[in-house]
């Protein structure tokens, strides 16, 4: 037997990256801001988007890509609110890949939009590994999950450009230490904005919407320059 070593030196996410780049090109050209909501199952991602609908009206024109393993319930919830929504089925996978997102994205009338919201499959680990061409991964963490989660899932909180802490209305019933949670986020990713919301009570959404509008304006302005 003779052995031979063949050097490859190749990025393992290369194939995903090809599609992520196509999406980046499209959203830059169309001056869209694109976010990727990532959080545990039930952390409140869809409820957050539902609550955003009325606040976004007149501010940003948006569409939603709903990622789920197999069901269409979340897309139906948004469809009921007359949101432009497209259902992505990951086919058993625990995350969305760039190719699937790209195919659905280009089906929207992108000239009529400012913001693309992707709700990833409920999972704090795998979606953080897969770039889908978004501007910003957003970590969504509910207060029922515990203040230690930023330390347990550092990749997600490190990759995130902002954190939305959800279900603040439940705080009186829990031992969740909000300040410790903020500190834990800072230890992993100092300086990223943290938004604290209670979507069920329509509280705390304004600052989050304002941040999105600012980000979208920055994207549109940088597109004008180049």
């Amino acid at each position: 037997m003779s052995t031979r070593e063949i050097r490859i030196y190749q990025d393992l996410m290369g194939q995903n990256e090809v599609w992520a780049r196509k999406t980046r090109d499209v959203i830059a050209q169309k001056r869209l801001f694109m976010i990727n909501l990532i959080g545990a199952p039930g952390s409140g991602k869809t409820t957050l988007v539902e609550n955003m609908v009325s606040h976004l009206a007149g501010t940003l024109r948006f569409a939603v890509l709903e990622g789920d393993v197999a069901t269409t319930r979340d897309a139906e919830r948004l469809d009921a609110l007359n949101v432009r929504v497209s259902q992505l089925l990951s086919g058993g996978a625990c995350h969305l890949e760039a190719k699937l997102v790209h195919a659905a994205l280009i089906d929207f009338a992108l000239d009529e939009l400012d913001l693309i919201i992707v709700e990833n499959v409920g999972n704090m680990v795998c979606p953080a590994e897969f770039d889908i061409g978004e501007h910003a991964k957003i970590a969504v963490l509910s207060v029922t999950e515990g203040e230690d989660k930023p330390l347990k899932y550092p990749l997600l909180f490190r990759e995130a450009k902002a954190v939305v802490i959800t279900k603040l209305d439940l705080l009186p019933h829990l031992t969740f230490d909000l300040q410790a949670c903020r500190d834990n986020i800072r230890k992993v990713n100092a300086g990223i904005p943290v938004f604290e919301v209670a979507a069920k009570r329509n509280e705390g959404i304004d600052a989050w919407i304002k941040w999105l509008a600012t980000q979208r304006r920055a994207v549109a302005e940088s597109a004008t320059v180049t």
């Binding site: 037997m1 063949i6 490859i8 030196y9 190749q10 194939q15």
Partner: protein, 117 residues
Amino acid sequence: MHEFAICQNIVAAAEVEYARVSPPPRRLLRLRVVAGGLHQIVPEYLTQAYVVLTSDSPLAGSALELAILPVKAQCRRCAWTGQIELPIFQCGACDSFEVDVIQGKELRLESLEVDTP
């Protein structure tokens, strides 16, 4: 659990590269992969996924060798660079949390070791 998803990418990339090797090897002996510490890969889970995912592919029977690179950061305040201990992203000199990761996100297919005719 993300080891399975990562391994699907490893196997897909390795199958393409292996098919390109000329002259066609008798078999693949070893696959070398480099992963940054930020991915928090549990080596045993990755190996188990590799066995399952290659069971009826040309890669079957090969060994997956994983090298993990420690996470390194650079401080924005004092320019210190060095290794950090996950999950705390903090400067080793001035204790600032304003640091940039300079190593630890890698995910790379390094090399194939083949049995040649």
